[in-house]
Amino acid sequence: MNAENTQAQMRKGILEFCILSILKGKEAYPSEILESLKSAKLIVVEGTLYPLLTRLKNMELLSYRWEESPSGPPRKYYSLTNDGIEFHTELTQTWTELSSAVNLLSK
């Protein structure tokens, strides 16, 4: 139970970083982001994504544009803002440091 909670917390923290990583270099709409996250087994329920996207957007790390889809309703295509790119670079650095630290300690 305790382990599960910690896992969830860890996942959630990393999730933001991963969303930014997915959006680095290309724009994507939520279903595409979900696909990537699912294939990396980073996400359990899809609902998790949406509050995160909205929050990142409100932090002005992401922006989106609408595009008509060939089938169904219009899609929101998300992409990184300049702030987002900067933020992602910082996070990458932090991540590299952390992962090497974790690797070193958990050996």
Binding site: Y64, P73, P74
Partner: protein
Amino acid sequence: MKKTISIHIKGINFLIEEDAYEILKNYMARLAEKLSNTKGKEEIIEDIELRIVELFTASLSSRKEVIEEKEVNETISTLGEPEQFIDEESEGTEQKKESFNQENSSFEPSEKRLYRDMDRASIAGVCSGLALYLHMDLIIVRILFILFTMAAGFGVPLYIILWIVLPTANSHIDRLRMQGRPITVENVREEVEMAADRMSKSSKNFASKIQRENVIQRFFGTIGKIISKGIGGFLLFLGIIFSIAFFIVVIGHMGTTPVKTDEGFLGLYNFGLLFFEDPEQLNFLWLSAGIIAVAGIIWLIASGTRLLFNLRYPWYRYLSRSMLFIGIIGVVLAFYFGSILAREYTIEKSIETERVASTEPFEIETLDDDYSIHNYRHNGYNQRHGKNYWLLIKNDKIEERGIRIYYEVSPDSLYHILEERVASSRNDRDALFRAKNIQFKIKQNGTKYTIPNEYQFPVSDKIRNQHVQVYVLIPKGKSIKVNDEIRYPDGEEEDWNSEMDTTTVL
């Protein structure tokens, strides 16, 4: 067998089992409740709804058309329960920190694009699309287009090119771009709602049309529409032509009448002064003409645009009607002052003078250096000179051209030449006075009489139908030499004979 209802999510229709719908509704309610303290709640719900549409769409096929409980439950488990992904605490605290940020965060403004707007189209929506793009009123764009066409002539090809090149705004996103509104969920939704509204309206119209009219009637309806558009275009065209003419005549004060003076041609107002003894009356007539012209032009343009563009604003109708009313007042005024002038022409008087009474034959020379304008009047000529003016004003005298010459059989054995001066006025005295004032003189050179082509009268006499007639009377059995062709008196053709320039009364 289960009951199915139709729902739409983000503008997409689904058939869903009633039970399944209840579950979905419940889930959305829980979600909304859970998010109630979270900023960006609407956006999150919006995004989740979009995802639900995708998941639903993926689960349907041509053989499976209804969303059942199973699909709803699968969708919910894919998305997860709100408790699983919404941490009220953390979202709530973050919300406070970022509230400042949020208020200032703006949606990315979308670039504005040029589309054809079929919803407001008269022909192909080019003008209405341009109007949105340029932030101008649709009517102004259309009028500019028409002016463009008439002035430079390339409005029509330009229209056709834009018609071909510009895409129509088909999607809701296109419509937002066309209007230059940022593409936000709110705006898209508004646009979708408006589209739904438009569709239901037009389908209602269509349905009621189907009920009322059969195919033939609809065909004539279309013809009628084309005709009314044609009439509208014509009225608008007239309005523009008249306003240009009005501008030239009144404001430009240019020489627009065929009356030549030393200083060029007379303007319409000064031309009027040649008729009115009292300038005050002319002023009133001028005013009423101005009222008619302005009201008429506004009426033509208003009615024309109304028909052409099928405008249904009530104020447009009031404008047309009030202009019609003002125009009628103008006509009544014009009639009144016109009738004052018309009285000046009720009495006609003439003075006859015998220029020649002789036993000797003579020669008649008419001066008509331009034969292109030859009006036969009775058996004489009305010699109108082929000049570019009708009247010439010189030394305070009006010179008019055109003398009527009548060749008739003399009642005695003498040749006669009679001059008759004629003028009109409102009473005998004034008419005679004006007739006397006409200056006209036949020149004699040996046995040759030269009949001039013009006569003069004082400007102060005003134009009162002054004219001059000359009677040449020839005794029976005698001849006369005329440098012109003679038309014999009606009913006496057999008694006359012309050979070369000599005419004989048999």
